[in-house]
């Protein structure tokens, strides 16, 4: 049945070459853990991506119950955690996953660094990787505010204060960041929009570039 459906579509659209081109590529011996267990360090990039996928999924589902509003945000998060079926698990996925993305991304970066994989001709991909790092940090910073509890509020207050310490422009940067003079309703909606619309768009674009480049240039050779 599945095969027949696939064949029917393939006959008309010839989709096999498309996914073949994506999926079929040689895995060099030195990055295959089946050959040498220590090659698992080459999995960190893929694992980072896997966790990003689960972050996107759990985030989409959390958005079904969350409200970015100063009156309701905390209560909606409480509702998710205490009342919705498996809500604490889904929120937990997003909470722990957030830290895991950072950890995995950092391990991936260390692997690239210590294998010298950032060297010519792959410098541009390193740069894109650094941009991804910054976007992920942005996710962490904006997402931290959304539960609208004490920890969220004061962490953002400190973050905004740090932004303000920028020479000359600091005051304006802070005002733009928190959407006004006080950390409040406008900050929450602003951070929410950045967290769920702007940053995901940026991240997906950068990840696309990251993957196209690695496919084009191949995985760096053995040490």
């Amino acid at each position: 049945m599945l095969k027949k459906t696939y064949d029917w579509i393939d006959e008309r659209l010839n989709i096999t070459p498309i996914w073949r081109d994506v999926a079929d590529h040689d895995v060099p011996a030195h990055v295959n853990p089946a050959n040498k267990m220590s090659a698992f360090v080459y999995c960190f990039g893929g694992l980072t991506f896997l966790i990003i996928i689960t972050q996107i999924l759990s985030g989409m589902f959390l958005a079904m119950y969350y409200v970015p509003d100063v009156v309701n945000a905390y209560r909606s998060v409480q509702y998710i955690t205490d009342e919705v079926l498996l809500g604490s698990i889904v929120r937990g996925m997003h909470f722990w996953g957030a830290s895991l993305v950072i950890i995995m991304m950092f391990l991936h970066m260390l692997r690239v660094f210590f294998t010298g994989s950032y060297k010519a001709p792959r410098e541009m991909n390193w740069v894109v990787g650094v941009l991804i790092f910054l976007v992920v940090m942005g996710f962490g910073f904006t997402g931290y505010l959304l539960p609208w509890d004490q920890k969220a509020y004061w962490a953002t207050a400190v973050g905004a204060q740090i932004a303000e310490s920028l020479p000359f422009l600091g005051v304006y940067v802070k005002k733009l960041l928190i959407g006004g003079d006080i950390l409040g309703a406008l900050t929450l909606t602003r951070f929410f929009a950045i967290h769920v619309f702007f940053l995901p768009a940026a991240l997906l674009g950068l990840l696309g570039l990251h993957f196209i480049m690695i496919r084009k240039q191949g995985i760096a050779g053995p040490l």
Binding site: L57, S58, Y65, S76, Y79, L86
Partner: protein, 181 residues
């Protein structure tokens, strides 16, 4: 024996095995992620509303047999994380057998609020045409004093009724139910 026959005899080919193993692992991983997300999404199906009786503020002795009386009462409602007492209305009448009926004002056609036939000071008066007492402003639905619909107008069943309980002379209203056409 041709090459093809030989392959079929061996049963599962290496390629097939790897396809299944890869597909199975992928499906397992997808299922792990989906397992909490699906219950999370269908949570509303596990919740039911109401069922508790609340005091309508109306005494049994005040219920008339000729015309329905409008009562306003508060019902506790839990809407996600918002818990509040919302105002609800009911038209209450005693039918010929002495049973108390409490109608919801929501027209059974498309849910607009029906109004009773009242005089200028808001007191019930006999229906203008002698029969149809409730009128719906939206599509001309009409009902008699017992909430029974006129089948020649859009609504096809009588007004919904609240469960009624009398406690110490007070009329308590419960959950809303449908009546047969």
């Amino acid at each position: 024996m041709s090459e093809k026959d030989k392959q079929e005899k061996k049963g599962l080919s290496r390629r097939q095995f790897l396809t299944y193993a890869l597909g199975g692992t992928g499906a397992f991983m997808a299922a792990t992620i989906a397992a909490p997300l699906v219950p999370f999404t269908i949570d509303p199906l596990t919740r039911s509303s109401g069922g508790n009786f609340v005091d309508s503020g109306l005494k049994e002795a005040d219920v008339k047999e000729d015309f329905p009386k409008l009562v306003e009462f508060k019902v506790f409602r839990k809407d996600g994380w918002i818990e509040e007492n919302v105002k609800q209305r009911a038209w209450v009448i005693k039918d010929k057998s002495g049973e108390i009926l409490a109608f919801s004002p929501a027209c059974t056609h498309l849910g607009c609020a029906v109004s009773g036939t009242l005089d200028a000071s808001g007191n019930p008066k006999p229906a203008n045409d002698g029969q149809w007492w409730f009128h719906c402003p939206c599509h001309g639905g009409r009902y008699d004093v017992y909430g029974v619909h006129d089948p020649s107008t859009p609504p096809q069943r009588p007004l919904d009724t609240y469960a009624v309980k009398v406690e110490g002379g007070k009329i308590m209203l419960g959950s809303l139910g449908k009546r047969k056409a």
